[in-house]
């Protein structure tokens, strides 16, 4: 049994966080979230229109037991918009969790570190548990920890790209220096990507596209849950050290050579 993950005061029963985007329909989304065993799910905000009321996820999400809902600030172009989005999200969830994301460039969706930092300061003061989506920058991660963020969520590679973990060494440095949970968010494509992140000592992973866009999202959610479990268990078990050269596992005594047969 692996150690439990705690974010601020909240113990979470799974180290796999999932999103709610890109699912073909709401029923598949609900089944998939349940299959994943996740305890934390992200959701976006969208302008209400009566013709799109069927897309409202409030009802389906409130039926999930033991799952915390974390609104994101997607669509915010700057700190001010992100703070407003967070406040709107909290009105719906009545929960302090907020995924702070500010990515003004639609081509790469990379986070704006400066606006994110400014928004985080305000939201922490407002009592939010701020979980910022950030570039894999160890200095920024530490600064966000210092101002009271609940976690940091460095990207593995661009959102929805499925490029896996392209910034492995930077994430390793963040994990080494961080006293708050580190969550790899974005870019993960396969359960082995998730396992690799967990083996590095990351505290959790957030996976949306890789599950929702799979041929069978429910089955993929289960595969991811296993990958995350395996990776965490391996981290806690302590991986062997690497060697540049072979190190034999069997005796090399030349008992076959030169002896009489």
């Amino acid at each position: 049994m692996s150690q439990m993950l705690k974010i601020k005061d909240q113990v979470l029963g799974s180290r796999l966080f999932t999103g709610t985007g890109k699912f073909s329909d709401t029923e598949t989304m609900v089944k998939t979230i349940k299959a994943s065993g996740t305890a934390l799910v992200t959701v976006a905000l969208r302008r209400f229109h009566k013709d799109s009321a069927a897309d409202d996820l409030y009802g389906p999400l409130s039926e999930l037991d033991n799952v915390h809902i974390m609104p994101n600030t997607s669509g915010a172009m700057n700190a001010r918009e992100a703070v407003n989005a967070a406040m709107l999200g909290r009105e719906l969830t009545e929960s302090p969790f907020i995924k702070l994301e500010i990515h003004p460039n639609p081509h790469h969706l990379l986070p704006d570190a400066i606006e994110t930092y400014e928004a985080a300061k305000i939201l922490v003061a407002e009592g939010f548990w701020v979980m910022p989506y950030i570039p894999a920058d160890p200095v920024l991660a530490k600064r966000l920890e210092d101002i009271g963020c609940a976690s940091v969520m460095p990207l593995g590679s661009p959102i929805g790209s499925g490029q896996g973990i392209e910034v492995r060494e930077m994430i390793r440095l963040i994990v080494r220096d961080s006293s708050i949970p580190v969550v790899v968010d974005a870019g993960i494509r396969s359960p082995s990507d998730a396992a690799a992140a967990m083996e590095m000592g990351v505290d959790a992973v957030l996976v949306n596209s890789a599950i929702a866009a799979a041929e069978n999202p429910e089955a993929m959610a289960i595969a991811f849950a296993m990958g995350v479990e395996a990776g965490r268990a391996a981290y806690e078990a302590g991986l062997m050290s690497r060697s540049r050269e072979a190190v034999h596992t069997s005796p090399l005594t030349s008992f076959l050579a030169g002896g009489s047969v």
């Binding site: 985007g21 890109k22 959701v43 209400f48 409202d56 407003n84 709107l88 719906l92 957030l206 949306n208």
Partner: protein
């Protein structure tokens, strides 16, 4: 009364209260969050909100996202 609701012109026929606007939009109050003129209005304060001509109102709901 003319309002700017979610970025579009909206001819409001009700009594100008926030609650009547939400009703007019067929929005379920418990599933929406509201901002008036760029400021989030907490649910507990909705009852007292009286809108004015040309106010900007944003009404949002949950949607899928990562």
């Amino acid at each position: 009364m003319q309002l700017n609701v979610n970025g579009e012109i909206h001819k409001h026929q009700g009594d100008g209260s926030l609650i009547s606007l939400l009703k007019e939009m067929c929005a379920r109050p418990e599933r929406t969050a509201v901002m008036v003129n760029g400021k989030v209005v907490k649910r507990v304060d909705w009852d007292g909100v009286q809108l004015k001509d040309l106010d900007d109102v944003d009404v949002v709901m949950f949607a899928g996202g990562g």
